[in-house]
Symmetry: C2
Amino acid sequence: MNREEQEVKKANESFYRAFESRDVREMEKIWATGDNIQCGHPGWRIIRGWNAVMESWRCIFEDTPTIHFNLTDVSIEICGSLAWVTLYENLTSSVEGQNVSATILTTNIFEKSSGGWHMIHHHGSAVMQPPPDEGTPVVH
Amino acid sequence: MNREEQEVKKANESFYRAFESRDVREMEKIWATGDNIQCGHPGWRIIRGWNAVMESWRCIFEDTPTIHFNLTDVSIEICGSLAWVTLYENLTSSVEGQNVSATILTTNIFEKSSGGWHMIHHHGSAVMQPPPDEGTPVVH
């Protein structure tokens, strides 16, 4: 992994630490400021623009007492000042006193500026397929 | 909409025409060739690389007698040789003789080369939220 990929990996991991902190001020540091940022939470409609995206995080954090992410199958692609990361968010959370777990397939896009890599797009969706068995050939 | 945006819009629409054709040879023309292409069909795990992505389209086309897309809320962003498009695929299809309809939130990423814009990433996910009422203020 080269230096740029390491920077993107770090920016991506910072996003999940901000998510786990459930502090919108931490989440604000992750995103590029602008009207062209976009966010699609699992099952939600698309949210576009800084104010609406941050308001969505505020709502999610209010309804999430705890959340933890284990990231797997992380792929990082970089082209110029853009990077896109795909991965599975294997999350465990607590909803109304019940522990829940889910696997979310996510596309995160980051843009590099003088201030480093910032998120400009997040799209997560629930995975319904079971993971491939170890004994099953995987087409890659 | 400037000329580049029109080109991306056309590439994006060509993807849906290829999908409607249910002809994998048409779909092959849409995608960049390479091991770094990625495809997340709604509910599926991520598929990476040309062979696996095209095999997934072959499977989907075999199981899809008809499908039609009405694209709404299309947003096109371009940075250098990359473009990302978000939209709703309002699809109607026929599954085992039954008409079905669904709204899919999609992120499509295209890369520009000497041969024009080609898809390198497709991520679709089922939308569970109803569309906003016309009378309800929408935060954008």
